[in-house]
Symmetry: C2
Subunit: 330 residues, 2 copies
Amino acid sequence: MILRDIGEFGLIAKIRNWMGKSHPDVVQGIGDDVAVVEMGKKALLITTDILIEDIHFERSWIDPYRLGKKALAVNLSDIAAMGGIPKYFLISLGLPKTLPFSFVSLFYRGLKERARRFQVDLIGGDTSLSQKIIINICLIGEGKKGNLLFRNGARVGDDLYVSGTLGDAALGLKILQDKSTPKKPKGLIDKHLSPNPRIELGQALGRKKIASAMIDVSDGLLIDTRHILEESNVGARIWEDRIPLSSPFRKWVSPYSKDPYRIALSGGEDYELLFTASPKRKASILSLARSLNIPITRVGEILPEKEGFHLIGKEGEKIPSYRLGFDHFK
Amino acid sequence: MILRDIGEFGLIAKIRNWMGKSHPDVVQGIGDDVAVVEMGKKALLITTDILIEDIHFERSWIDPYRLGKKALAVNLSDIAAMGGIPKYFLISLGLPKTLPFSFVSLFYRGLKERARRFQVDLIGGDTSLSQKIIINICLIGEGKKGNLLFRNGARVGDDLYVSGTLGDAALGLKILQDKSTPKKPKGLIDKHLSPNPRIELGQALGRKKIASAMIDVSDGLLIDTRHILEESNVGARIWEDRIPLSSPFRKWVSPYSKDPYRIALSGGEDYELLFTASPKRKASILSLARSLNIPITRVGEILPEKEGFHLIGKEGEKIPSYRLGFDHFK
């Protein structure tokens, strides 16, 4: 048996099983985007992400400045999705020995831009020779225990919301990869190359006790909704035509997909927040969206587990959800 | 200018400069093996190490079980060198999709063996496809602020001690790489493949306030002594013939080096503890060595900075130290 036969989620389940029970201070461990550990009155949040050249990015698509920004941003998004406060990070780099020094200095310039913007400090790391560029960031944050949001808090009757618009990053990537489109729309490309972690929104949703469960949309709306449903033991319906699409997305999507919602549902790398909240919190959510100037859209609702997970199409038809997302080993 | 022209230590200096000042809670940041952050009464210790196939290891030398053990051990050694208590770790893996599943399960078996032995919990990570195997561990520990040992505490007149024996791991690697030696000495090979982090020794040296400065020997005795000297603003002499060599080392070294001390001084990957202590602590050190059953040898003494750093050879001659260690980009 080889790794491809097991898939990423299968492997994670195995690892959880092999490693066994952890210390009672570990609130959230293997299999989640963020590990949570009790440390006195606070909780320590730790997340890590690896980016590998020619797997996650190509040097011909992304300049080193934006690569530095993105490497930190994807980790910040994981902390945002818990309502946490990011604090410190370490970076391990694998670098080819013939890499121009200017690449490294621009990469760090991008890293520093995001670090300043979100007030996080680089406190260490490791560097090594490598054939391909490898970037591994470990980001540490903190939060008050009562303010943190997990995937498992969704309740039947809650509404399902998403911030921003979906599909832009995935469409941006398709356009980047498409050699037949010389003039590339900057907005969509930027959504792919320079994602904006929703730190302030995540913290407000936790601090004001507005949301009941939360995750960031990194694997696509379908897969990430499924994570909330599985951990909360609930079902859900999503109204396809309520999924927020940007106008550049609507303008550019047709050559790449007959059904625009397909990309928005399963594209991934949106780094928007997906959360559930009681219908009573509707007014607070509207006012938060206005004050932070971030669109927040109600795209679905939480159902009893036995009703499963389905989409409602434009004609009102019920479409059972299916796994369209990206499994790293398949 | 390319990376090779700058070298690893040059790059770290640049990064420290680019990223600027960090938050006052950061006790130790960029450039050290372990980052230290104040968290209430405790200090949080964080260290990260990246291992890349065909750079740090080859699949033909090391089986997956020992690779798992070693990946965690090298990080544990960094926490040991501060007298800290290791607690949690995250692991990012890059894995080829055709890797046999048995490789991954044996790797985790090795990881778990070290995790149990040193009571640390795997709490998260990331996995990705990759051409070469990539292993990045981020290990988190803690310590009482007053018990932690840094590189900068050595004082003139202190003795310089090292645990265990030196050079075994470096010689083990040379023998592993040598195709003309079919029968390989297990002891030396094991020192390279299965280093044993000195966690209990490190903690005792900190808790009992025995040592004044400490580091683990990962880059070789010369380079790691130099780190203590630079950060403590002192000089040192090391008596070459006091450097502890194991009997397998003495037996096997001659085909690989005319001067056996050359490998012991600059080989690296020993993962022993190198520390300074006041001469008054000699009796406590002897008794600690006996109770933990770990050899501890006085190899040198700390001098005023203006006397520099030199070795005393077998004939009593003064040999100025020179940089023999391993710079990852050169």
